[in-house]
Amino acid sequence: MIYERRASPLHAARAAVASAWCVVLAGVSLSFEHPLVLLALLAAVIAAAAGARVADRVLLALAFTLPFAVVISLINPIVMREGLTVIARFGTVPVLGELDVTAEATAYGGVLALRALVVIGCFALHSAAVDPDDLLRAFRRVSFRSALTAALATRMVPVLARDARRLHDAQRCLAGAPAPRRAVVRAVAAGALDRAVDVAATLEVRGYGAARRAPRGGGRPWSRHDLAFAASAVGLSLIGAAAYAGDWEAFEAYPTFSAPVDARLLGLSAVLALCALLPFADRRGVGR
């Protein structure tokens, strides 16, 4: 997934803040287990993607994740021995031993799958809406060598992808059967060193590393979107921490599955989604 600047509040926020907001959103989903809260967070992620005008990309990433989510939901009841409501008995299975599938483990498998979807959705949103160059710049101040490696690696990915596409096209131009895919992959890999040398030479002649300490981004004033997403991230963190500490969701997976829905839980879900989405309401100054 390639970053592309679009006219949205999330794109308009500075990369460090936008990145932190995405990470906090993913982190909050890891601190909740109630399906209703997770569904609210998933809806918030999709709505945020729409607000950032990258819904197509995030939905595509979620569609690719769906099979993995199904696998997670199927594996959990096989490996978990918890739960009182047995819904299927498979007897003794090699390696696994006595295999009884319980309703609780099956339901919790669904919860884990839902959580995985929220986390993947957050990182897809991160990839599509957070400027990697800005982020790299921020990292460069922390670790020069890591940023150099990251710069080289991030540039090499599209270069090698283009090489592979070109080689594949060239093979299609030949009479007879084209070379097998592994031959193309081998040729791209063999050329990767040459390409890396070219890219590294470019980094050199652009002066990378001349100023050992990169300048601080200093001077760039905080925009309304920087402030809004920073406030949202802080709000999400506080709500998440409070709900976790106060056990507001009252969720139990084992021994019996309990996910009560009451006004407090509905309120928590609504507040979390609202807190995540409020920064998208202000669309002033989202272009460049």
Binding site: I2, Y3, E4, R5, D131, P132, D133, D134, R137, A151, T154, R155, P158, V159, R162, D163, R166, L167, D169, A170, Q171, R172, C173, L174, A175, G176, A179, A183, V184, R186, A187, D194, R195, D198, V199, A200, A201, T202, L203, E204, V205, R206, G207, Y208, G209, A210, A211, R213, A214, P215, G217, G218, G219, R220, R288
Partner: protein
């Protein structure tokens, strides 16, 4: 003030190389000078630029002797990243020269690397973008740019820090004539207004000679000529005819002097010599075909390749081809010309079946072989001998290279190998080539022209997408000019290339379209003298 570039008895040998790439080079470039490096492939132009940027020897290793100062910094004691502050460098391949995700970040990158503050970086980005005419691209993703756009962005990044010296290795090789002229205009302005010394390696000298203060010619790594453009042309007419510009070749063959640096010089000389007679005579001549070509009548036989009402509309993107109707007869030689993004490469890809049109029909009377822009893409193995059977290698005259690695071949050899690979197997009805002369010197171009003429003489239709008007004039009998995804001109090459401003040969511009090639133009000039 110290020299912008100073080489004092510089010699250099790449690691493992048998012969040196630079030999005892002495060169001094003054601040604000515009120097063009001339020479055939492998003459040492690129190595000299890499040495000036400090990559030789710091990055490439090898044996380096002598002293080189770039922007006043000794390359023996300063690393390339430090030299980057005073010397902006641009290489040939734009794809590996863009390292950031957006154009804005790319232009900011060298400024940030110099430790400039945010305000200075922002200002530098804006100024470089305006100077290079890439302000509308600032927020575009670099992954989405065309080759020509990438080249301009890379040039912007090289010049963003307003270096004392700009080191440019064939910056116009990816560009159409319009964009190439624009870029050279920008370089000239930077040179004149900012005082930036420019050192430009270029094969198509006719493009840049008029901007140059000096021309330095290299051969086998040594300087063989260092003179002003007029002096260089005089030297080349005797010692290196393959380096002559078409205008100078026209004058040499016609026995006229002085040899012209620009079209304007040539016209002025002709006007003075012939007091207007020539102009009147030429108007009567009209456009003619290149020598040795017979105009082919569009025979009513089934074409080797035909497009009818061909459209290509990208999903969620631009319309690349708009209702193209085109028929190609067996044995025809066609040049496909047009600006970057006009649809030339896409049309060839549709012809070869790599891309399906969204509407319209493609009729092929046999296989369509396509040689894409990078011949290296056709070689997947470790030995040339493994790419083709011995017989096919011998037929292509490459049998002596069988044990070499394809990456170790020269540009011309690699292209011949790629063409042999493409032609191997079922005999193609049509051969398409996409920008085959990019970065090629005249000797290799002449060899390619002969090879393609041989194919056409055997009945294979040949279509070449090119920006190189001189090559098109030498090779093609018919030229199709694409504009905005459709043919805007489709006529004998003599008609298309004689009347254009940008898509015209230098000879045609000098002679008002009366001839395309120096040989034909010289014959015309000699005839006029005899008549007079």
């Amino acid at each position: 003030m110290s020299a912008a570039l100073l080489l004092d008895r510089v010699s250099y040998r790449y690691p493992g190389a048998a012969t040196p790439a630079l030999r005892d080079v002495d060169l001094r470039v003054a601040p604000g000078e515009f120097v063009v490096l001339a020479g055939g492939s492998g003459s040492g132009k690129s190595t000299l630029l890499r040495a000036a940027s400090g990559l030789v020897p710091h990055f490439h290793g090898g044996e380096f002797t002598g002293r080189l100062e770039s922007g006043g910094l000794d390359t023996r004691t300063h690393e390339p990243a430090q030299i980057a502050a005073v010397a902006g460098t641009l290489f040939q391949d734009p794809e590996t020269q863009v390292v950031m995700g957006t154009v804005r970040a790319e232009l900011a990158f060298p400024l940030e690397n110099r430790g400039l503050g945010a305000a200075a970086v922002a200002r530098g980005v804006e100024e470089a973008a305006l100077a290079l005419g890439i302000a509308p691209l600032l927020d575009r993703s670099t992954h989405a740019l065309s080759g020509g756009e990438l080249q301009r962005v890379a040039l912007g990044a090289a010049l963003a820090g307003r270096p004392r010296v700009a080191l440019l290795d064939e910056p116009t090789s990816q560009l159409d004539p319009v964009a190439g002229d624009e870029l050279l205009g920008v370089l000239r302005r930077l040179n004149e207004e900012w005082g930036t010394a420019v050192i430009l390696a270029e094969h198509r000298l006719e493009r840049c000679l008029s901007a140059a203060d000096r021309v330095v010619a290299l051969h086998d790594g040594a300087i063989v000529c260092d003179a002003d453009p007029c002096g260089f042309l005089d030297w080349a007419s005797v010692h290196a005819p393959e380096l002559q510009t078409p205008g100078a070749r026209l004058f040499s063959l016609a026995g006229r002097r002085p040899l012209p640096v620009s079209v304007k010089d040539a016209r002025r000389t002709l006007a003075a010599d012939d007091a207007g007679r020539l102009d009147l005579a030429m108007r009567g001549q009209g456009a003619r075909e290149p020598s040795g070509r017979r105009r082919r009548r569009r025979a009513r036989v089934e074409p080797a390749l035909a497009f009818s009402s061909l459209w290509l509309e990208q999903k969620g993107g631009a319309t690349v081809l708009r209702g193209v109707d085109l028929a190609v007869a067996a044995g025809e030689r066609i040049a496909l010309m047009g600006r970057n993004g006009a649809g030339k490469s896409t049309l060839l890809r549709v012809a070869a079946g790599l891309v399906d049109p969204t509407r319209g029909k493609v009729q092929r009377r046999g296989r369509v072989a396509l040689l894409l822009q990078n011949p290296g893409d056709y070689t997947l193995r470790d030995r040339v001998g493994e790419e083709l059977p011995a017989g096919a290698l011998a037929a292509a005259g490459l049998e002596q290279l069988a044990d070499r690695h394809p990456r170790d071949l020269s540009g011309g050899e690699r292209q011949r190998l790629a063409l042999a690979i493409v032609l191997h197997g079922e005999r193609p009805a049509v051969v398409c080539l996409d920008e085959p002369t990019r970065g090629m010197d005249r000797r290799h171009k002449d060899a390619l022209t002969a090879l393609l003429n041989g194919l056409a003489d055997d009945g294979t239709a040949v279509i070449v997408a090119t920006h190189d008007a001189e090559f098109a004039a030498a090779f093609a009998a018919r030229t199709v000019l694409l504009g905005d995804g459709r043919p805007v001109a489709d006529a004998p090459t003599a008609d298309v290339l004689a009347g254009g401003w940008y898509f015209a040969t230098q000879t045609a511009r000098i002679l008002g379209g009366a001839a395309l090639l120096p040989e034909d133009g010289a014959a015309l000039l000699r005839r006029e003298v005899v008549v007079a």
